[in-house]
Assembly symmetry: C2
Homo-oligomer: 352 residues x 2
């Protein structure tokens, strides 16, 4: 009776709830001792994607992102076509964050039995629309029944080994930069969830901000330009919000960082909606999450070159918003004293 002779169900001992240590705490607890054949593994757990050697000078990038109804999206509040787009976009964003090119996805779907075939097709049409535009293949997956609608996308990308940009290369003195504007996705979410805003937001603002939230465009062209520039020291994508995400670069690179609140790039659309909703647009820019912009560092003095290159290529805004500091300084938000107190928290799936 080996199999049921001790309480393997609970693990025994004092129970620690996952919400006590949070998503990243849990990952730290689980992620140790997971490489049993290091041959060819350049990076396992701990960056936007794993990095595996596949040839003399080529690597495979692999990542996955799971989206759960009621947690990451609300069924009925996001068109299924857009949800399909988004599920693929957030994964492409992880490949962009490594300086790679996305090539293939696998899609695991857990669908409630009330789902119709047409709904599943609409979801897939949203995926395929972005996949075809980026020449990325859907090569496999799984389809199962569940009471909770869940989408898990695995993405495979490729890169030249010398082009991969990890989180671990930032050095004190480097400039912290972000693409695009931050907080637009949070503003779009506010429009979706706050009925009182309905009718007060202009059609243009509404369209722009909803698109940022529902159908974010992965920053693949921006990533590719940054790879070409060749001097980016660290990079990741902004999924949880700058305030939380910069900590990952700091931990991986063993450095500190200062973020200048007065330099955070946010759109006028987001600022208008924040004002109407009685929210702080800087808070959205810092903690809103789901912007899927690129957060990266470059050696001091190179920021102008980046800005000019983006301008020349028509790739939108790019902003120097902070500075890498010595290890031990932690992450400091620099700006108005009263702002800082309630601005400094990232998103955690298991907290709160």
């Amino acid at each position: 009776m080996r199999r049921f002779s001790h309480k393997r169900f609970s693990g025994g001992g004092a129970a620690v709830k996952i919400s006590d240590i949070g998503e990243f705490g849990l990952i730290k607890r689980l992620a140790g001792g997971t490489i049993f054949n290091p041959n060819g593994v350049i990076k396992g757990i701990g960056d936007d994607a794993a990095v595996i050697m596949t040839g003399q000078d080529r690597v495979l990038l692999v990542s996955c992102d799971m989206l759960v109804d009621g947690v990451h999206f609300i069924y009925g509040k996001i068109p299924l076509f857009d949800l399909g787009h988004k599920a693929v976009a957030v994964n492409m964003s992880d490949i962009a964050a490594m300086g790679g090119v996305p090539r293939h996805v696998l899609v695991s779907l857990a669908l409630p039995s009330r789902f119709t075939v047409e709904e599943a097709e609409e979801l897939f049409n949203g995926m395929k629309s972005l996949l075809s535009r980026r020449s990325v293949n859907l090569i496999g997956g799984d389809t199962v029944r569940s009471d909770v609608f869940t989408i898990d996308v695995t993405i495979l990308g490729e890169a030249l080994i010398g082009s991969v940009i990890m989180r671990s290369g930032a050095r004190p003195g480097d400039v912290v930069m972000v693409t695009g504007s931050l907080g637009d996705s949070a503003a779009g979410l506010e429009i979706l969830l706050n009925d009182q805003l309905s009718g007060r937001v202009s059609a243009d603002d509404r369209e722009y901000l909803l698109a940022a939230h529902l159908t974010p465009e992965p920053r693949l062209d921006q990533s590719s330009l940054l790879v070409k520039l060749g001097f980016v020291t660290a990079m990741m994508d902004l999924s949880d919000g700058l305030a939380g995400d910069i900590k990952h670069i700091c931990e991986s690179s063993r450095v500190g960082a200062e973020i200048y609140l007065d330099r955070l790039p946010y759109s006028q659309c987001a600022a208008r909606v924040a004002r109407m909703a009685g929210k702080n647009v800087v808070h959205w820019a810092l903690n809103g999450g789901e912007d899927y912009q690129l957060l990266f560092t470059v050696p001091s003095g190179k920021e102008e070159e980046v800005i000019e290159a983006f301008c020349g290529a028509g790739l939108g805004a790019v902003t120097a918003a902070g500075r890498i500091t010595d290890p031990g300084c932690g992450v400091r938000l620099v700006g108005f004293e009263e702002d800082i107190k309630h601005l400094a928290k990232g998103f955690d799936h298991f907290s709160g």
Copy 2:
């Protein structure tokens, strides 16, 4: 107002419920037109794993399997350590089914907030125990909150291009073979769910059959031997049951098949439990599912060579249980007339 101007939520038109067309019907509806860059794609959707060129003579095999609480397992009925083993094992089985070697996995976990850190660790310990024994790395994943405990494992394997065995190579006249015994997993499940059996099944039978259900061993060594033999024409793993799974080989290879019910390999343990439970062991062998044995075809006359090679390598039983027939013959179960009527259905996640 482009975004909400038409009913993209429902897709419009007559709604077809997924349960009406089943899991495989749904996959057929969704799987068309998914390759947007055919360069390097040898096989996309439609086999046990996708096959992607990575070098002159090497391919990457990729597959994923999602397990949902209440559908694929029942929380509390399977020790978390065993569930971790199983989640990895079923994915390794897909790589075995292609004639490949598993190399890396990514694990996406959706956990209810009541979960403890110790429980998550126990689940991971089960995964790591099998991963370390097979020298396979855990290189990434995602961890999110959900009301329904869900595990999605993506596996990456590799193979020489000439070694890959797909479902599509079976030819009329080929012999249908299976490794091991069938129905053991179904017998183990019966023991878990049928309280009336408790105490009546011998300790040895119980241990053997529960292990078959809870901690199936991926047939990697058997697969590797079959690759070496070099004459296997088609292969897949048995996840849903022989009766349903053989249809996939028939469809991919555009052939028919006969399965000889009196030659199905089942264990005496399973037969004893079936008798106690008033069940038909041949039904379990055909439709029980989750055996994760290999189903494969060899040219007529080669079956003895396979049996001898398995015997010589100490790799357990292997049985000739059927024959590939001409296209248009469909799948025929050959045996006692009264058995056949209720034996001919495979498992479908969305039916019933």
